[in-house]
């Protein structure tokens, strides 16, 4: 077995660790400076890329990001979306909440007067493959387009009545569908009044 080195010996033995620490720290700083902006751009692009799908006529490049305080008192990020000509095309609200399996993150699009929902886009979900999974599909998302933002959405299992803010649930995935509707309702309820004030 080795003998313990006297007091100052630890520092001498640790010089390699300290040197490596500085070397690696420098390498990581270099990596962060060179790749950091690109990663940030990727993160932004994830949201901006789909904005034209949520708010028709929007130009993703003409989007501004704002942070406002919702009715629940917490800060929330919203996106003000413009057309290529510079007119206000609508608003996009990030929303999230608990789904059937895990957290669901989505974006809700509202028209400029905050009267109607223009569309939704599911960013992240881990629902059951083959059943709840389909909340990301085009056919489920378009059920939200045109619904009124003035009253809560209701989810029904069959024959949605026109004009009554009803969404047809996915067959075999009622809870996932309801979760999405709940998340949309909560987000609109939380942010509509503060947005009116802008």
């Amino acid at each position: 077995m080795e003998t313990k080195a006297p007091g100052g010996g630890y520092l001498r033995q640790a010089w390699l660790v300290i040197f490596l620490g500085l070397l690696y720290g420098g390498a990581l700083a270099g990596v962060q400076t060179s790749l950091g902006p690109r990663i940030e751009q990727n993160r932004r692009a994830e949201t901006y890329r789909v904005i034209p799908q949520i708010v028709p006529g929007a130009d993703a490049a003409q989007t501004t990001e704002l942070t406002i305080t919702g009715r629940d008192g917490k800060p929330s990020r919203v996106y003000r979306v413009h057309t290529a000509g510079g007119q206000l095309a609508g608003w996009v609200l990030p929303a999230g909440g608990l789904g059937f399996a895990d957290r669901i993150d989505l974006l809700v699009g509202l028209d400029p007067e905050l009267h109607a929902i223009t569309g939704i886009y599911v960013l992240d979900q881990k629902e059951t493959p083959g059943l709840g999974n389909f909340i990301s599909s085009e056919s489920f998302r378009e059920r939200f387009a045109g619904m009124s933002a003035g009253e809560p959405l209701m989810v029904v299992k069959e024959n949605p009545t026109a004009g009554r803010n009803e969404i047809l649930a996915l067959s075999g995935a009622t809870i996932s569908s309801e979760s999405v509707a709940n998340i949309v309702n909560t987000a609109i309820d939380n942010l509509r009044e503060p947005l009116r004030g802008l």
Partner: protein, 246 residues
């Protein structure tokens, strides 16, 4: 009440529904290696829970104050050193290194504690106690906490981080103890030769994972039920028919 409901969701989620071993696949090495006897397995589970909680406490503190984008401490140092106060300092590239050191320190601490207060337990653990450092479950808990400290509009507090850690540890203990019980029985069975040892353990784990899938949606139902009790109203969405489809 809202915080309590969300804590319950996080805790039940981590322990049962998204069980660390059977859903997220972290902590498999001890799960397969240490689960031969129920007592050892339970002891290992408790040790891991202990380490995970300490590691979560330390990593939340470091991440909140130092490592996240826009953290207060580096920002203060930057301003004192004369930097531009408008830029936010982001030290998150050092996260992984920080976490692994935090975990190694937690394991050292737990090892000293167990050696002092439970010597026979320490002897029975042998080499497995320091090996907890390479247990994916602990690093995974730290990573989950880091993930929830990235968005400034949705930051986790210490209570949520600790609930995740405790829930994860309890879930790990549950899974490993169940596995040990089953393996004790399997030792007396006639397992085909190629499958003896890790093979049959993995197949058993697969069936256990299937069983745990049945818990999906429990946290949401509990949360909804509690909300209904406290807010004295119905949730925003109506069912037309009463029977659910799951």
């Amino acid at each position: 009440m809202d915080t309590l409901i969300s804590l319950l969701q996080i805790g039940i989620g981590a322990a049962i529904i998204n069980n660390f071993v059977l859903h997220y696949f972290v902590g498999i090495c001890p799960f397969l290696g240490v689960s031969r006897k129920v007592e050892t397995a339970f002891g290992m589970g408790c040790a891991v829970t202990f380490v995970i909680s300490i590691a979560a406490l330390l990593s939340w503190t470091f991440t909140y104050f130092i490592l996240r984008p826009g953290a207060p401490l580096p920002g203060w140092v930057w301003r004192v050193a004369g930097g531009d106060p408008a830029t936010s300092v982001d030290l998150s590239v050092l996260s992984y290194i920080m976490y692994i050191f935090v975990i190694a320190a937690s394991v050292q601490f737990v090892e000293m504690y167990v050696r002092k207060f439970f010597p026979p337990l320490y002897k029975s653990f042998g080499v497995y106690l320091p090996l907890i450092t390479t247990n994916c479950a602990i690093l995974f808990a730290c990573l989950e906490i880091m993930k929830n400290l990235q968005d400034p509009t949705r930051l986790w507090g210490l209570h949520e981080a600790l609930t995740l850690a405790l829930g994860g540890g309890v879930g790990f203990t549950l899974a490993i103890t169940l596995m040990a019980g089953i393996r004790e029985e399997l030792d007396m069975c006639d397992v085909p030769k190629p499958l003896r040892g890790p093979g049959i353990s993995l197949l058993t784990a697969g069936i256990l994972a299937m069983a745990f899938m049945g818990f999906a949606g429990v946290d949401k139902s509990v949360a909804d039920a509690l909300k209904r009790l406290t807010e004295n109203g119905t949730p925003r969405v109506e069912h037309r028919t009463l029977n659910t489809e799951y």
